[in-house]
């Protein structure tokens, strides 16, 4: 077997897969390894992609030519636009997926690419020479060499599955753990931590009485990918039920048997993904908790019980699940479990996702302390691009916080670090009015095209959309026909205006409906383009204000800090600032200003220092 590649990617989960595709699109040879083909793009937890902020990430991955959005569209079971009433900055797509179908499509796509070599092997050592990653040794003795290595090991490093006092050395869903690599990473100088997450039980569909639950249907919404056409697909409903006092009593009576409360779990769990026992203990006053029952796939035998993640012993799980209306006679296909795993402290990474300790070694996904398929995919893509750019001697590709959620995600991880698995939230994106899901292509596709990630077809679609938007903007300055305008305003329940309104005036009305605006335009327009124009027009005041803030911040982002700067020699910095700056080694003053413990006065000191160095 051939043993020389451009890039080796360890792990074929959501991060590894996007990494491999990115390397392949840039025309390089990639070796992609996984411990089991079944783990390829495997959705180990909920059968859904997107949701608030995560939907934004999927659209951004897509705008940069990634696969997640297209594959999600091809394996949909249901799709919804969340937050429709709350404003365009927080519109978020969420799709229920057929998880097996998603895995199969990705596997097929990987195998169809000549530049991608997918192998079933466990990596045990990153080979490093003179401080640079040169290759990977696998447990079967096979050694492969490459210019760069991307580590995307997910939750498999020293994975331990825990229910009650039963502990099993394992990856998710019974896949084998990867126990060989952690010691090697520690030896290479990477700081390793222990995180924890969990998943609920899977219940056999035929043991559930759905008539006792509320049915939840999808809607006719957009698709994740800017390149997908809104075709029909076979839909499946989800169901809503609730916990009750009896559920809570069973949990509290058995809480001493929970590994989280009896001390047998040491890993740090995420606050946003609490187990049901966590919720019951922390929010005693809540008499019930929402539980969504979702299909694992189209006609799948198994149903995912969202909200009932737990690490209680199997017998307790059975008792408590059976208190839920509709689950009285349920049978378990898989029990809920907590999983503990090794991961890297992301402060040990550069904004390019290269490790500071080992040159040409990159890391992406859950192994960086994040959580979620979308967060993983986004990092995978970025790590893949930067691995290639590194071996080509090019500057790293870094997205700013005002350009993309991807920028926020990576900047948060490498600048602030995280003490729990990191989940993307819209609340974390301070420029979110700019970072909308409708304009992800406008923000990123051109950049992706220049990098070589985006196909001609996708680039042309962007140019078409831009041209359409320009046409509509031109048209929007003209007045519309008065009677027609009055008729429409009345229909919207909007007051009439004295002057004949322009198309722009009409679009700015809060109750404006896209279809009616469309009828006022004398030429054919695409809904997506029109929708973007309406949003930009209605929110122009807020957008302009945001632009001003971004411009100001960018002046700091543009001032680069040399890599070899000796912070301890700058005596005017406070001691804490010296230590933090030395550890994180920010790329520029903007990143430095976001480090906790670095004050505005410290930044002023750095400015003066830079000035002195430059002369």
């Amino acid at each position: 077997m051939k043993n020389t590649f451009d890039v080796i990617v360890i792990g074929a989960g959501h991060a590894g897969v996007e990494s491999a595709f990115a390397v392949q699109r840039l025309g390089k040879q990639v070796l992609l390894s996984c411990t089991d083909f079944g783990t390829v793009a495997y959705m180990a937890c909920n059968p859904a992609i997107g949701g608030t902020a995560k939907g934004h990430l999927v659209r951004e991955i897509d705008a940069l030519g990634g696969e997640m959005g297209l594959t999600a569209d091809q394996s949909l079971v249901q799709i919804k636009m969340l937050n429709r009433a709350k404003g365009p900055a927080v519109f978020s797509l969420r799709g229920q997926q057929d998880k097996n179908h998603y895995h199969e499509i990705m596997l097929e796509k990987l195998r169809s690419k000549e530049n991608i070599t997918l192998v079933e092997k466990e990596a045990v050592e990153v080979i490093v020479e003179e401080g640079k990653a040169k290759g990977v040794r696998f447990s079967d003795g096979y050694v492969a060499y490459a210019g760069a290595v991307v580590l995307a090991a997910g939750v498999y490093l020293n994975g331990r599955i825990i229910t009650g006092d039963y502990v099993l050395s394992s990856g998710p869903s019974g896949y084998a753990p990867a126990n060989g690599l952690t010691d090697n990473l520690i030896a290479l100088g990477l700081p390793i931590r222990r995180f924890k997450t969990g998943t609920p039980a899977r219940i056999y569909r035929d043991s559930i009485d759905f008539s006792k639950m509320e049915i939840q249907l999808g809607e006719h919404a957009d698709r994740f990918s800017f390149m997908s056409k809104a075709s029909t697909f076979e839909e499946e409903p989800c169901y809503l039920t609730y916990t009750n006092e009896e559920t809570h009593k069973i949990i509290l009576d058995n809480i001493h048997r929970s590994p989280l409360y009896n001390g047998s779990i040491s890993g740090v769990g995420p606050r946003y993904c609490p187990s049901i026992e966590d919720k019951v203990v922390r929010f005693m006053d809540k008499s019930r908790h929402q539980i969504f029952v979702e299909p694992e796939g189209l006609h799948s035998d198994e149903m995912y019980v969202q909200g009932m993640s737990s690490s209680l012993p199997h017998d307790v799980q059975e008792k408590m699940y059976r208190t839920l209306p509709g689950l009285e006679n349920c049978r378990f296909a898989k029990y809920a479990y907590a999983i503990e795993y090794d991961c890297i402290d992301p402060l040990a990474l550069k904004p390019s996702l290269e490790t500071k300790a080992v040159e040409n070694l990159f890391a992406a996904g859950q192994v960086n302390g994040s959580s979620g398929y979308e967060e993983a995919g986004a990092q995978g893509l970025m790590a893949g691009v930067n691995a290639v750019r590194k071996i080509e001697g090019k500057t790293p590709f870094i997205l700013r916080r005002d350009e993309a959620y991807i920028g926020v995600l990576i900047d948060d991880l490498v600048t602030k670090g995280t003490n729990e698995p990191y989940r993307m939230m819209t609340a974390r994106a301070e420029h979110r009015i700019k970072l909308r899901q409708d304009n992800a292509d406008m923000r990123l596709t051109e950049i992706g095209y220049e990098l070589g990630l985006v196909s001609e077809e996708r680039y042309k679609a962007l140019l078409d959309k831009k041209a359409q938007m320009a046409e509509i903007v031109k048209e929007s300055k003209k007045t519309v026909q008065k009677e027609l305008a009055e008729e429409i305003l009345t229909k919207w329940g909007e007051p009439l205006s004295r002057k004949t309104p322009t198309l722009e005036d009409m679009m700015k009305r809060p109750n404006a409906v896209l279809e009616d605006v469309k009828s006022l335009i004398p030429f054919e327009v695409d809904d997506e383009a029109l929708n973007s124009v309406i949003i930009e027009c209605r929110y122009s005041g807020y957008l302009e204000k945001e632009e001003g803030i971004v411009r100001e911040q960018k002046r700091l982002e543009d001032k680069l800090l040399p890599e070899d700067i000796d912070y301890f020699s700058i005596k005017a910095l406070r001691i804490e600032a010296r230590q933090k700056l030395d550890k994180i080694r920010p790329l520029n003053l903007g990143q430095a200003s976001r480090i906790s413990g670095v004050s505005p006065a410290d930044i002023a000191v750095l400015i003066v220092y830079l000035q002195k160095m430059n002369r």
Binding site: N46, T52, A53, L82, N83, A85, K86, G87, P88, A89, V90, P270, R271, Y272, C273, P274, K279, R282, F283, K286, H289, Q290, F292, Q306, G307, S309, M425, T426, A427, R428, E430, R432, I433, P510, Y539, Y542, K545, E546, E552, R555, L556, K559, I570, K571, A572, L573, R574, S599, P600, A601, I603, A604, V605, I607, V608, Y609, L610, Q611, K612
Partner: protein
């Protein structure tokens, strides 16, 4: 970048002080505060860069004659349009000038900000950069200590209370955006009630700045009255009695005499003025004019009358409190012609009644200081004012979608955070998870 303003010379001692304004609005601001022959000097400055223009600084509640100089961006220290005002260097005028300029759109500069801008604009020319860094460091640690002392009082808890209130609103709304399904059962805050309540509290705190300024810089006391009623003797008596002269500067360019005295922990900034009378003498009439202006802006006017003569006080224009003093109570034929809580009988020469008078003057501070929540820093006032304007914008646009309303509310929270060091994003995320049962 916002236009910034700061006092560039040490406060207090000097006869002349410089207030520097840097940023794109510098000249526009100069046009609104500095006048020559009744006209704003914007055009004059534009046509006469780097030249001193004599004119009048029109402050809130005071005016002062001085010079303005315009440095165009390519000729200034910061690399931005800059205007410097050369005014009389007293605390009141310097602070007043900065405060006036902030009402015209500038914000108070942070420590080292002029230097920072000079660097960002590629304009910094410093022979010893390390020295400047040390200076910034020293200033900021002094600033931190001062801020810390301030936070010991009620201010910290007042601001924290307001921020907690605002954070509850923020976190609930933000949680409903990030967890639309889980938050369906939660009651959303009524912005109609919550925002005006927060706004009123920020307003109250901002108003305490006036008293805070007194705590920091003392009470500005102007001694006024007709010539030869004993004003200078009274000044000497007030200072002498309390044996706490800090500085005693005879104004070289002015005919007023200033001195400082500490009474019961309150600093009195005493100004003796020329006697108020019509005069044909040019120098004296300028002195009288200056006295009238000092009276106008004083915290306390001590109006001195000769108790041995048959005179009654003239009407004076002032925003401060007026105390009437009948002097020469040790002399024959003395009698006070008016009475009231604000009327005192003293003998400046013999020192009779001076202590009681000093306490009465100092009590101006105590009257206002019933509430210990004092905002003392100009920068903090500016932060509070910015927060007010953000909240007002949110109230005005409360019917916009939540994502937009939250832009203003997060901004308001960040402005308040400039005082306490908190930031919106991290506090919101923490608060969401501590308050709500969200997550799958």
């Amino acid at each position: 970048m916002k236009t910034i303003v700061a006092i560039s010379t040490p406060i207090g001692a000097g006869g002349i002080g410089i207030v520097r304004v840097s940023g794109q609005d510098a000249r526009k601001i100069a046009d609104a505060v500095f006048f020559k022959k009744g006209q704003g000097v914007g055009e004059i400055l534009k046509e006469n860069p780097l030249k001193m223009t004599f004119g009048t600084f029109q402050g809130d509640g005071f005016t002062d004659k001085g010079y303005a100089v315009f440095f165009p961006a390519n000729n200034s220290f910061t690399g931005e349009d800059t205007v410097e005002f050369y005014l009389h260097g007293g605390v009141r005028i310097m602070q007043g000038a900065v405060s006036t300029i902030t009402t015209k759109g500038a914000v108070p500069a942070e420590a080292g900000e002029f230097t920072k801008r000079a660097y960002l604009n590629g304009r910094m020319s410093l022979s010893d950069a390390e020295g400047v860094a040390d200076m910034i460091h020293a200033e900021s640690s002094a600033g931190i200590r001062a801020a810390y002392r301030m936070m010991q009082g009620g201010v910290a808890s007042k601001i924290n209370e307001i921020m907690d209130d605002l954070l509850t609103v923020l976190a609930t709304l933000e949680a409903s955006l990030d967890y639309p399904e889980e938050m369906e059962d939660e009651i959303m805050p009524a912005l109609d009630n919550a925002l005006p309540r927060v706004l009123a509290r920020v307003h109250t705190l901002a108003q305490s700045f006036y008293m805070g300024r007194i705590a920091k810089h003392g009470v500005d006391v102007v001694i006024a009255g007709e010539p030869n009623v004993g004003k200078s003797s009274l000044l000497n008596a007030l200072v002498g009695e309390n044996r706490a002269i800090v500085t005693d500067v005879a104004g070289t360019t002015r005919d007023t005499v200033t001195a400082r005295a500490e009474v019961g922990g309150v600093m009195l900034n005493l100004t003796d003025t020329a006697g108020l009378r019509d005069s044909d003498d040019l120098v004296e009439s300028i002195g009288v004019e200056r006295a009238l202006k000092a009276i106008e802006g004083a915290d306390v006017v001590v109006y001195v009358l000769d108790g041995t003569k048959d005179t009654t006080p003239e009407d004076i224009v002032t925003s401060g409190k007026v105390i009437y003093v009948y002097n020469k109570c040790d002399k024959d034929g003395f009698s006070a012609k008016t009475e009231g809580d604000n009327v005192f009988e003293v003998s400046a020469m013999k020192g009779i009644g001076v202590d009681r008078l000093a306490s009465a003057i100092a009590s101006v501070y105590e009257e206002g200081a019933y509430d210990s929540d004092l905002i003392t820093s100009q920068r903090h006032v500016s932060a509070l004012k910015s927060a007010i304007s953000s909240i007002e914008h949110a109230i005005l646009h409360k019917n916009d979608t939540i994502d937009c309303v939250l832009i203003d509310l997060r901004e308001a929270y960040n402005y308040l955070g400039e005082i306490t060091g908190a930031t919106a994003t991290e506090d919101i995320v923490d608060s969401i998870f501590s308050k709500f049962c969200v997550g799958k």
